[in-house]
Symmetry: D3
Subunit: 303 residues, 6 copies
């Protein structure tokens, strides 16, 4: 369970309001790569972790820290919205271009819906989505997601840093950027540890028997686009990264046939191949359904 200390993990106080920036900050709060995403992702991975305790413990440590980041960003956004212009009267905008710019660039829901507070949404106003919380039960697959999240997240925070000169905002962002530096390093370290512990390796999932995959295409780069520049990369020749094969560069080509043989099913009024078949539709369909089902159960279905 959880406990809350009213103090913020770090300062979240802008030098002055900036409603346009408040909207942009929503991206790293409630966007795909924002703090809500990493908080929920790490907590779900932690609760779902079945491997050694050190991984579960570590996941819950970091998931709990990310909640503090959610709190800092929410607080900062509320402060950036203080005194935001609300009226749409064009006289104001005409006499003061800065007002017009603010009205255009700020998020209308910040005033109408949230009363000058933060939302669980991104900078376009699109609500946070539960699919952003990723926990597969396979720690290597998930730690790779975590490296990605910290990379995309740090990238976005750095971009936001460049978009403002407010010293208070930059101070808070410099803290978040440093934590993302740690977390990128941390997930790379966790991947190294997981492999060193012999629990998982490339290709994920490594417990799937190699002889069951189509071996002849497991290390081939297939070029399906004009231009051969892709032939010069590391991925086109030499030992594969998992040490289990040799990269090979080939032109893409079909191994299968054109799939043209499905009959229309009159029970769902699919377009038939000929008008005669069309006449059969719509009568006795339930009886046919029963027959078809029996066919499936007997295993004599045709496709």
């Amino acid at each position: 369970m959880f406990f809350h200390d009213k103090r913020l993990q770090y300062h979240a106080k802008p030098d002055r309001p900036d409603p346009i920036f408040a909207r942009r900050l929503q991206e790293v709060l409630g966007g795909q790569w924002g703090e809500i995403s990493v908080m929920m992702t790490y907590l779900f991975q932690g609760w779902n972790a079945r491997g050694p305790v050190k991984y579960k413990d570590m996941l819950l440590d970091i998931g709990t820290e990310e909640m503090a980041h959610v709190e800092m960003l929410s607080t900062m956004i509320a402060r950036l919205l203080e005194g935001a212009p609300l009226s749409t009267q064009e006289e104001l905008a005409a006499s003061n271009p800065a007002v017009g710019a603010i009205m255009g660039g700020m998020h209308p829901q910040h005033a109408i819906v949230a009363g000058l507070g933060a939302q669980a949404a991104d900078s376009a106003g699109v609500p946070w989505n539960g699919r952003y919380a990723v926990a597969s039960g396979n720690l290597l697959a998930d730690f790779r997601y975590n490296v990605t999240a910290e990379s995309q997240g740090r990238l976005q925070v750095c971009r936001l840093y460049e978009m403002t000169e407010d010293a208070g905002v930059r101070d808070m962002l410099s803290f978040l950027i440093a934590r993302d530096t740690m977390h990128q390093n941390q997930w790379l370290a966790a991947i190294a540890e997981l492999e060193a512990d012999g629990l998982e390796t490339t290709p994920v999932p490594s417990a799937f028997p190699q002889e069951r995959e189509k071996a002849e295409v497991a290390y081939q780069f297939m070029d399906a686009s004009t231009g051969d520049e892709s032939q010069t990369g590391r991925w086109a020749s030499g030992a594969s990264m998992d040490g289990k094969g040799q990269f090979q560069w080939v032109k893409a080509q079909p191994f299968g046939e054109a799939p043209l043989d499905l009959p229309a099913d009159p029970r769902v009024f699919g377009t038939p191949k000929s008008p005669i078949q069309a006449q059969l539709g719509g009568s006795g369909l339930v009886a046919k359904a029963a027959q078809a089902v029996e066919g499936i159960v007997r295993g004599d279905g045709e496709s």
Copy 2:
């Protein structure tokens, strides 16, 4: 631009229909980590790529190949749905438990909406979402996403392989698994190449000046959960993975203060701190708005 060869990249023919499995296969077609996601992700990354041509070329090669996987899965799903039972009459289910199981486990929209064809949705029937296509303009951030996608994707295909004994289905899945093996290796190779080319490194984005982040917390592991098991991991001590710092394990603690000082804004009818302030609401608010805005522009806002 693109061209289409009617032949499939690989065979997509089940031994017999299986409507329950058709629903499950939707996950790797239209789910978060399905083929539509990687196809759209690689193509958008390729169109958006501004670095050396070999990366752009490689991205478009693979994005184009993934389209063939979308095609194979759509074809397979249509074939698995042949002759599916459609009626809900319980007599059928009572006399034949297999029919009841199929009706429970198949996706109703496969019949009602798609006429026994595939959909751009996952195995819960939730439609594919444009946020699953990730292209940030920073290739290392994106290649890490790609490794993740191929790991989660291969994991799901392997799970599906274990859920069926149909030789035709397994044959197709063994091809997709092998391609995911290649693609996991490929993105790891592309990351190595990007770093070898000196274009990007950890922490992403590496061009952000290190002196602007809060250095003292950039390599600290903060323990915010009871239990010290996280102290034993690779992430808790030793050189950081980027070679720029030393991991340090510390107990999490607040650096900031409790944020209790925001006044209510009468223009949005926020709850005030005292009843007297409540009386002021709702009159002359537009005039106040104008004043507030001028304050922002002058930079004398308070928070």
Copy 3:
């Protein structure tokens, strides 16, 4: 404004409960092509109609009727859910396969969330989406959408008719199918009327000056897939349907060039073409931003 008569437009009483069918009926209530979609579409088109009054009047007539269909389906679904089995205990299912089938095929939210009532969602449980209400301000574009909606809708209701043998349910569906017959005919008639009135024609929007489009490709069928079967269709030769051109069948080919010339923007930490450029990132970016903006305003931007 609207008024409500408590009587249903038509009977909505099943012979007996069928929780599996209740879930399926959700598709034509709250799905993409369900009654909520056509109700909202016709009402928004009516409110937004600026053409002759007869079209606005007709749209509001039909939009109002569709509300009665929403009401009938909601009522029917509630009745189909009476006495549905709720427990998940497997003993029940083991002793009675029909119970197992019902539990598998019914929608869990019908009991947990809606208390055995209908929802504004489709048969997968995905909520109705405001994008399903289409109103563009151009009546021909919209009437074509309406023909589609009545075609997809009637198709789905016919499929549902085949999935049940309950006489009461079939009675209601036969009413809805007949109304869809009328509405398909009606929108085709409205299209004919709109063209006869000289208000709009193919290609929509016809008021766009023909000389502004790239005339040489306006009637060409471009074959981008192997196989020439598409050459035999009506669309490949002869006069075009709008009477303004001649269909022509050609092989698809590129008219443009490969787009490889975009420089990376250091302000967003995009991957550069060479490591040297990477060194420039992250300093003085705001100053550069100001310069770049001035360039845009002056019109000397480069791409």
Copy 4:
């Protein structure tokens, strides 16, 4: 900021696995009225609270407790999924109806996506949505939402309690039900306190000047449906609940006119009232746009 204690707030251990119930439990974890919703709602309300400190403190207390409920449910779901059947082979289902029922009633993503763990989604598999976190800045409006959330939530948990006989599951649910009892009471108490403190009252927002609303309809019940049963309720006569008016029961009627006067705008190719107007479209539109805009700024626009 937050801290985590590895112990659960309460036991979360089922007597035995039940994959169907695991899916149903998702509703009160990641559904509209689930624990993620109340956790995020209370925390955002707390961070956004500008009134007396006791309310902010109380909101953060409860938001923090709800996180523990999220944790308990996630843990319970993972345990209910242990050993779930995964194969779709119909032989299994045919020989054992219970297996067929489980396969039909369980959530396929629990195995394919989450590796037998919980998700941030509801019982239909629809992901949690940021709009479920409600924080308006007006505490009475928000506390009323909170009473609702605890009522809908307790209702759903009670329904789930009736759907299982597993003693371990029921034990955990009895704890959650008791907490919802407290929280319903608590929000009702908070509403009483808020009114006693003179900070807000009915109608929300009470600071909006009463003379600015259309007084003659502020306490009228408008009957727009056949049948007069609504006339017998408390809402149809007597003093209004806010003590500021008298309820009155009237037949609904229009106060406005039919809105038929909007001209089509040729710039967006809207359908015109006559064919002549249609000829004007598509030339010199930008010039017209400029004129139109000037009209708006001057305030001489017509509608």
Copy 5:
């Protein structure tokens, strides 16, 4: 079924166009607390109502009235969009700052998608979502939602009133505000009536046997955040609002244990506790699945 009178319930005519305000008005049309939400909510509650007829009748009365509000807002939005500036050429904006402000603050889809008409979406452009229609079958739970909806809705309309000085717009809003005053009062009255009728009371659902909930925590306030200010509120001591218990203020604490005992399941390639277990994965999994299932059916599953 429904009938439509072409006259609006109330006037909806602005003094002059205002495209920025048109976008903002979308919030109370198609947002979470907008008129589409209350219309659909009350109608679904009415159709689903099984209690005394007066409630069902009242719900359908109000649901039908709300449709008139949807109509008024749609009409108003179309009129506010008349003559909106469409071009993005920056010369215009440079020479006239008001134009720039309008272009920034208006919703691009109003022109591109809707042809200067309204949409079923909120002020961020996010489409209306079927989850906003709430009908649980329990009238007290639902009436509490309705009070909330009228509180949040009135709050938003009052905010919008303060954002404009257009007399025509304010006239319409003053009507909607008055109706929301009535509807807040009405739902509070309906709650009083429901309790007076003895049909439902706190805690919802009151028919759930009190002895089945964990009595010792049913009236405890658990403080999980630093600071004791929450101890001073009405919710911390005295009789509970339902009259069935005494509020008590305690420090939050865990009653459960740390959940660390789940084994990894090789069938889904979850990360195991040790490398040896990893070797077992991926062979004979279907056989194991069958065994596991039998275990569940026998009830000897372990968690």
Copy 6:
């Protein structure tokens, strides 16, 4: 399978950057009627097509071409974003109104998320949705959707053409408009061909036996709104468009009864008709559930 030629199908080079227009172009890339929608729609229809080969071949031809349009738009958007202003500092906006306008009108995610590249989202930033890909298995229903998509799509591109004066942008749009001209004509031709081939006709699906629909209302126009203007249209009298009936104009009226007879179900704690029934709730419910289920299976359920 697919192959890629690096050359674009047509030029996609603006004369100069325009970040506001970049946002607007997103509508026809990732909006409901954008190029991703038609590409996915035609490909899924092609893969799912079971009728004569010429239709399948044609669908795949056009689906493949649409991918080239997705590519052109993505490229154009990236170029329009070159050098976009990023900072929110109001000094800039105050000194240069054009900068303020751009900041207000551009999409913040173009910089923060996509690094000045395109997204799979519409002009409001709402992500593309898998429901926009429509493939029902009935070609006439689907071809009607395709005509709609090309009509709505061409309408939007024409609107965008009027919103810019950039010659490079207009050149590309003139190509897309011409292709939409062809595709509108093509789908109309395909509909004619399908009817000429005797495979499907109005009303879709034509194979549903006419005697099973409620014949007396199959050609009636029901007037449910005040005003009789709808009586003058083509849809109100004369032969129906399918040649199988005569249009008739009638006043809408109820054929059914008021649905007031559903009992509350104590198992889901629905509000009962009287307080006595409420006492029965919450005990022995599982036993009742079993009885209820048996009733369903026996067919003696009551509604």
